[in-house]
Symmetry: C2
Subunit: 204 residues, 2 copies
């Protein structure tokens, strides 16, 4: 069974984000607070509300703001090209689970060399979040997973029906955003992903 990462949209109200997370968190391994326009204070408020809603601290991953993650004692951070490097973060905060978002093989290899625990790679399929940008596709995903030793989490337009192909390509997990946070029935959707993931990982 691979990992299921849920990524916040950065466009919803705090209440909507917390409400949906509280519904679905038992089915997800990680919930990423990816709210680039929000201040450290606001991200802290989101963490407090998620904890109050019963989301375990170790499931919470904060995008970019390592300080908020450490101060609130959550499980991990997700770093991008504009963030502190995995190396510096791991040196100072070895207890944090550190992910790195990557778009190329070189970035993934660098993340691995710098001590990242995993990479999120994408986008794999067409997605409205990346309109006009050509998706990488599962073939490139497979090339990446063969050459990188840390777990690769696939992101971008992944529907439940894609899950099998993504895992067959060597991904150790999937990350989804709009299908959960913008979906009509987030709970039904997250269960569907988990069902597909369970069946897909049977094949290995």
């Amino acid at each position: 069974m691979g990992e299921l990462h849920l990524i916040s949209t950065g466009k919803q109200s705090i209440d909507a984000l917390v409400h949906i997370s509280s519904l679905v968190h038992t089915y997800a391994h990680f919930i990423h607070i990816r709210e680039k326009h929000r201040s450290a204070k606001e991200i802290g408020i989101i963490v407090e509300k998620l904890l109050q809603a019963g989301v375990p601290a170790e499931k919470i991953v904060i995008n970019d703001r390592v300080d908020v993650a450490v101060v609130y004692g959550v499980g991990g951070v997700q770093l991008a090209h504009h963030s502190l490097s995995p190396k510096r973060v791991k040196e100072r905060f070895p207890f944090l689970r550190v992910g790195r978002s990557v778009h190329t093989f070189e970035e993934a290899k660098q993340a691995e060399n710098e001590g990242a625990d995993y990479v999120i790679f994408g986008h794999i399929y067409e997605t409205s979040c990346k309109e006009g940008v050509k998706p990488r596709g599962v073939t490139v995903l497979q090339q990446l997973t063969c050459r990188v030793h840390i777990p690769v989490i696939a992101i971008g337009g992944i529907q439940p029906a894609h899950v099998r192909d993504v895992f067959m390509a060597g991904a150790k997990g999937i990350a989804v955003m709009s299908t959960i946070f913008y979906g009509d029935d987030p709970l039904e959707m997250v269960r569907l992903y988990r069902k597909q993931m369970g069946e897909s990982t049977w094949t290995f």
Copy 2:
């Protein structure tokens, strides 16, 4: 002798900021990297360049990004209303010097109660950075310094000629931005501030 804080403008190139800082740092007690539009990675690059230029780590203060401050081992952070609270930062990183930027007595008192080491209060005089916003003036500054027990650093339109009045009002230091970083002769200007500060503090 009070403290002299130099605050970056957030509008200059990294090279200009580093060059001017390298010229003037021996005359300043603290250099604040206040570059709100810049990423953690960029702020880290600025810190590295300042260190290479001979600015001591303990003189460097980073605005808002506690993570960058901790990872690069600089002396302090300057927090605003949208930042992590002084309390949370002090609890987790007691070795950091923590300043809080405030605009009212209530904010200053809260910062004191939350363990901030000092506040920066302003703006005191008319300044192009706060056009159309009425300055607080030295009378309000004096009222504040009487009621707050942690050091109050004054900011906003402070020219060398104002230094005496500001210190007479109980400020323990001044923070300046454009007169240094946009000045024709930053070195001459910083010396002028220090000269005024030396003479002003003789009077106590």
